[in-house]
Symmetry: C2
């Protein structure tokens, strides 16, 4: 195959221009250019790098409505959602510009020489973080802007000083090409080497595999399926020089409805839950795919309201026909499971549309069947009814790692919540109260990460300013003269916070 | 085998008491106890945890000279070295006590709610680091105190709030048992659950494999051979839930002699170099195993002085007969390499003693033969003669990842050093000027780490206070009530630094 075409999500039919399929030679060229650009790019000062990130944001906005329309066509997501996502994408680039300027990401540390120390003098030792090297980024189909070509992985890697080679998602090649061209314009406008950003497209897995295996790639950012993330992690580990893979993969995002909250507002919770479940056709990494509660009247009210909301839910166009088929299979498997009761199905929809679905089972059935804990990507959720707190705790302890865990509670539920929290902390990257996990704020304190298989590396986040740490490593400098020290580590440097002899100075 | 005995390094003969060999049931028991202790231990406040670390230090000192004598017997290392190492071990525990008290390790971040933000309000989001879970520690034979049972991995994992299960090094079971008992006394004295520390001993690799494969283990710290580290990393990756392995493995620690420094003091550098090379029978991770310089008179003077110093060097007892045999094979391979010239060999020694050895080759021969770049653990080093700066740079670029890179230089060498630094930064965890890489300061700015294969994870250090980060992961809390928030994230908390809305507050 030498070219491929964009596919309209709504029809499953090819549309728009065709794109040349990149092959091994293109991968090698992009990686060589990235490696070539690395020293120049990482040596840029904070202002240059921050201005570059801001310029990318401006260039993306300057594309105008063509970008939104391309993304609507290719993803089937509605206009307001994509306009919001563009705002998020641009805001994320600007956040990282601010992070780069403030300089805390360098984690500067200075232990001055102690020439008179006994029994041995201490040398002068200074530490900073440096970028890992060229980063391969695999965008996600479900956020064609914010988790794709110029998404969080790209923004945080560029902020760290790493050139980026994006493997564009084949579900939105037009959108990807528009954004890639915007980044390329920003590279040129800022006078940076063109290898700072590379963009490869094609529908095959081989393309991505070749990228991860290229010896010049130093780290990988990925958002997508568990199978995809695990395959990339395996390739990365099998290299002569293994590299880190930050794969955000699979999560069913348990929502715990505590007894007093259920008693007080079971019905309202049921309605609000379905609004979160069906948002964007349920195609969020943080979609609430599992509801846990102790049996009782409050839960009955929740289930009744959620059931009627799901039954009334309109079908929605899914991102790709592959995702739509996988969703239908997942729903079918739950329907066919004798231990699972189908509470409601929304309007079935046609073609690439997916209808919402709600199921119920018992804690003992859930514990006995691992398959019930697997992600069904789309607007399906499973309510698991527990007999008591002990069963709820056992169920939580048996869960795999999650991006989020949600508690709905009242003040009177706090003692129970306090007993659950230590388990939730071990299971999830973010714990939230009285809200819904969909909606991931891009800020400093956000963790969009979590224990395996939510991600391949629980020590990190892919959203928020802490994401920059994924692409850095520490280097220390011992007794280097001021002329040779990186400027930010010299005695006369200022601006970035530093730890001097163990004491933090701002 | 049900028991095994300690072996005297000097004689290779069994000595002292025998030790029961632990098996799979002991691994399971230790891991179950660690998992059981985890929630209690991680919930301890800073003062309790810091006092515990300090108590371990006191208990180690309280063992008195028995500890030094056991370590001397088992490792063959001399008394002053082991007394120094005990000081380092105790100092390291106290450093982490200080780190725990200061609280920066928690990386607290608070993004307060913005209820009036448009188009959507921002929730209250707060982040802290939490410990990963029980950590398996594999001590090193070459530092029976500072990198073993109560070494840097144990100290940093305990500081992070992780219970530790040590797989004691079979080369020093007596030393290990004394230190393990000291830690156990500290656990009891501080009223902590006994599972906070576990100690497993035995001579087989199966014991360590079972430990890494236990599902309750959340991370691994290892110092040792490349083969050993890679084997553990492979096991860790193959688990149902993969876990991070921090293996510090293999480094030849290039020393670059720049032309002006060589001209000014080639002879003195040669003598000082051999002192570093032969220290502790060359059994340091940071031993200078590779010397790089551009040909000329200064280099000739260096080589002449180093050659006569090596020739005059006494043989020294090595840590184990296995290490001694591996060293002899490594030396033999270099001697038998037609492209390598043997400059000098020290006194050959008997039994488990190793003699120093110095070799010379050309850059082109080195570049053509990867085997020359492999670590020979012991007091052997290879001088690689480069024709010019271009050849030196090519050689550096071809090197594998290193723990350290050293520059000997004068002011007039600085322009050349500035051209070399970007390459050295990519290759090594620590760059030092006008010193020797042996001697790793335990401080805040130290990086004892580096790109693969120096370590399995270049993003970390195993020495210094930054080592605590290896055992932590971020969790964020969204809209939790003050009652449920961890105390350090509440509005009224004080002491630890925090990032509030992106602004660092001390």
């Amino acid at each position: 195959m030498t070219d491929f075409r964009s596919v309209a999500a709504a029809t499953g039919q090819p549309q728009g221009p065709s794109f040349a399929v990149h092959g091994p030679a293109d991968v090698a060229n992009a990686c060589a250019a990235a490696a070539e650009a690395f020293d120049t790019y990482r040596a840029t000062d904070a202002e240059v790098r921050a201005a570059f990130l801001e310029r990318i944001a401006e260039e993306i906005l300057a594309i105008g409505d063509d970008l939104i329309e391309a993304a609507m066509q290719e993803s089937g997501l509605p206009r307001p959602r994509l306009e919001g996502e563009r705002g998020r994408t641009v805001g994320q680039l600007r956040l990282f510009a601010d992070v780069v300027r403030k300089g805390a990401w360098q984690q500067l540390r200075i232990d001055p020489a102690l020439p008179d120390r006994q029994p041995l003098p201490r040398p002068d030792i200074r530490l900073r973080m440096i970028p890992l090297g060229p980063v391969a980024v695999f965008g996600a189909s479900n956020f064609p802007l914010a988790f794709s070509t110029a998404g969080g992985d790209t923004a945080s890697a560029l902020a760290a000083g790493c050139p980026v080679v994006v493997k564009g998602h084949p579900a939105h090649p037009q959108t990807g090409a528009l954004v890639a061209a915007a980044i390329e314009r920003a590279v040129a406008a800022c006078g940076l080497p063109s290898g700072v950003f590379g963009h490869l497209v094609g529908p095959s897995n081989e393309l991505g595999a070749a990228l991860v295996q290229d010896p010049r790639i130093a780290a990988v950012g990925f958002t997508g399926s568990r199978a995809g993330g695990l395959a990339l992690a395996k390739l990365a580990q099998a290299r002569d020089v293994p590299i880190p893979v930050y794969a955000e993969m699979s999560s069913i995002n348990p929502v715990l409805l505590l007894p007093e909250a259920l008693k007080a507002r079971g019905e309202a919770l049921g309605t609000a839950f379905v609004a979160s479940l069906t948002m964007g056709a349920g195609q969020f990494c943080t979609n609430p795919g599992l509801v846990l509660a102790i049996e009782g009247e409050g839960l009955d009210a929740f289930v009744a309201a959620a059931t009627s909301s799901v039954a009334a839910a309109a079908a929605q166009t899914m991102l790709t026909s592959g995702i739509c088929q996988a969703y239908a299979s997942g729903v079918l498997a739950l329907e066919g499971n004798a231990a699972v009761e189908t509470l409601a199905k929304g309007a079935p929809g046609e073609g690439t549309q997916g209808g919402a679905a709600l199921f119920r089972t018992t804690a003992s059935a859930f514990l006995a069947d691992k398959a019930m804990g697997h992600e069904v990507f789309g607007a399906a959720s499973l309510v698991v009814v527990c007999k008591d707190e002990a069963e709820l705790l056992a169920l939580l302890k048996g869960l795999e790692g999650q991006l989020t865990a949600t508690l709905h509670m009242d003040v009177a539920d706090e003692p129970l919540a306090a007993r659950l929290l230590p388990v939730l902390e071990i299971k999830a990257g973010r714990i939230l109260a009285n809200g819904w996990p969909t909606g991931v704020e891009v800020c400093h304190a956000m963790v969009h990460g979590g224990p395996f298989p939510a991600t391949s590396d629980s020590r990190t986040t892919s959203v928020g300013s802490l994401a920059i740490d994924r692409f850095l490593r520490p280097v220390s400098y011992q007794n280097l003269s001021a002329n040779l020290l990186p400027p930010e580590l010299r005695d006369d440097a200022h601006g970035a916070p530093r730890l001097v002899d163990g004491v933090l100075k701002i």
